[in-house]
Amino acid sequence: MTAKDDRIGRLEALLERIRQRSAEPRAAAELAPMEDVNGVAAGEVAAHWSAEDTETHVPVAYQLEELTAFGAPLAEPSLSSGHESSWTGDPPPSAEPSDNEQEEHDSFQASMLDEYEVSDDVVEINVDTDDDSVRTSVHAPMFEPASPASPASSASPDSTASFEVPRVEGLLLDEASRHEAPPPVEAFPPVEGPSYDATVHADDVPTVSGARLAGASDVGISDGEEMLVAESELVQDEAREERQEQQEEEEEDRGDYVTVDVDEVEESDEPLAASDEPPASSRRPIAVLEMMSPEDELSSPLADLPSPLPDAPVERPSSEEEPPPFTPPPASGRQIAAEYTFDAAPPTLHPVAPLEPQGIEEPLELDAPRQIWKATSPPPQVEPESFGSWLDATLSL
């Protein structure tokens, strides 16, 4: 039995139950309040369900798009289309179906089976009952392992597994449907797993020429498979521009710090880790040079250079520790004498000028008295030998 046959079998069982429920008598009085509450026009009841193609279980989700055709005019058999996904109010009293009803059920089932539209991916069941004016549409999209529809783009009604049941006062799920309520289905499984088709664009990954993407399985690439990113000039340009912009922004924030040659960075052939962060090879020089913290600077070779400033901050003495202002000593002669040894024996100055002002230590020898003789003047008759004789001679004139 294939999975598709299994699903068809399950659907047949479901339709059987629906038909059994629709044959149950219902009291119009029980349905009367519903119209008042909903206030919806008479129409059709549609239920969509979807299931995953798994071997273990078939999660079924129901979505009520419209809830109509509830009211007094719609009497007993008309609203007997309660099935697992429907709403039936109170559980109907158990009653054995009549022969007519059994025939109708058989014919209905046969017609339904004829209307099966089984395709590769969709199982659709349409139930139209003219008598009770109820049309049940069952739409079951079949998920294939390699479905082209991505979860992100699965906004179509077929793939929408979540549904909301309008709160209808007066209507209660029957016990059967309540017990068989499908487990919640995660409509959008997380982006992981082998079945998730994630398209990796080279533009999204800033890469380096010749770099190899490691861990590609994390982004949907099969495990162990290595992928070489094509060396595209466009990719390089974009990555270079991004790095330059980032570098310029960081330089603006930190000022003119270090100029990094981006071209040299691009020459690196180190493998890149596939992550949201830019390649390590493209960040490393910039990070090392520009992200250098003061602690890093201290541990850098530049820290070995002697610093003109002292290591410890110079603590300015507080106002209490400051020395008192300088007060000159009183200008008393006593202190000056003590300081300049005026109290001691005063030096005796010995003027030497005007004879020989240049420090004569030897006894000064004055020139001998000059004797000026003129031709007209008479020569001295007697040469005095002493000052007294000279004085007597001149006084004799």
């Binding site: 100055l349 003027p351 006894p363 004055l366 008295p369 030998e385 000052f387 007294g388 004799s396």
Partner: protein
């Protein structure tokens, strides 16, 4: 001849006193102040002040040379050097002597502007105090150096007469000695 100038002038800064050549206290007076003083007073008073300065020098000189007799017996250059020292210490200029025949002419260079008459009276007071002999001096010339003749009072009067007549001071000295020699 040599002089020991070490005790020439002593300045006692603690007491604020100055002593010259071991004498009593000396007052250093500006030349202009002294000139104003001698110009303002009578000539006799001025001559008396000048002689008083000279007498102090002569007395120190006599003490230095052994009294009046020592000065007379001392060689000419010794006495001249002693007088020159006194003049230098007093700031009165460089002292020298010339002998014109028998006439003794004292020469003072770089003398302060106190007038020739003032220096004449200083020299008279110095010689009279040093030798205890009355001497007369007169100014022969004042430019460029001041020459002062030392002679008897009569001889000085005659030379003043010659100079008054316009005789050059050297001719006056010749005429003075010619008369003596004639």
């Amino acid at each position: 001849m040599s002089f020991d100038l070490s005790p020439a002038v002593s300045f006692d800064l603690a007491r604020g006193s100055v002593s010259a050549m071991g004498s009593e206290r000396t007052v250093l007076v500006p030349v202009d102040a002294l000139f104003d003083l001698i110009s303002a007073v009578d000539s006799e008073v001025a001559e008396s002040v000048a002689k008083g300065i000279g007498q102090a020098m002569g007395e120190r000189l006599a003490r230095e040379l052994g009294g009046v007799e020592g000065v007379r017996k001392a060689a000419l250059d010794a006495v001249i050097n002693a007088i020159a020292l006194e003049f230098s210490v007093a700031g009165l200029g460089a002292f020298g002597i010339e002998r014109w025949g028998r006439a003794m002419v004292l020469v003072v260079e770089h003398a302060p502007r106190l007038g020739g008459a003032f220096l004449v009276k200083v020299l008279e007071g110095t010689l009279e105090a040093a030798t205890q002999t009355r001497v007369s001096c007169t100014l022969l010339a004042a430019d460029p150096v001041q020459r002062i003749l030392v002679a008897s009072h009569s001889a000085i009067e005659r030379v003043r007469g010659f100079i008054g007549e316009g005789v050059p001071w050297a001719d006056a000295l010749s005429r003075l000695q010619a008369k003596v020699g004639a």
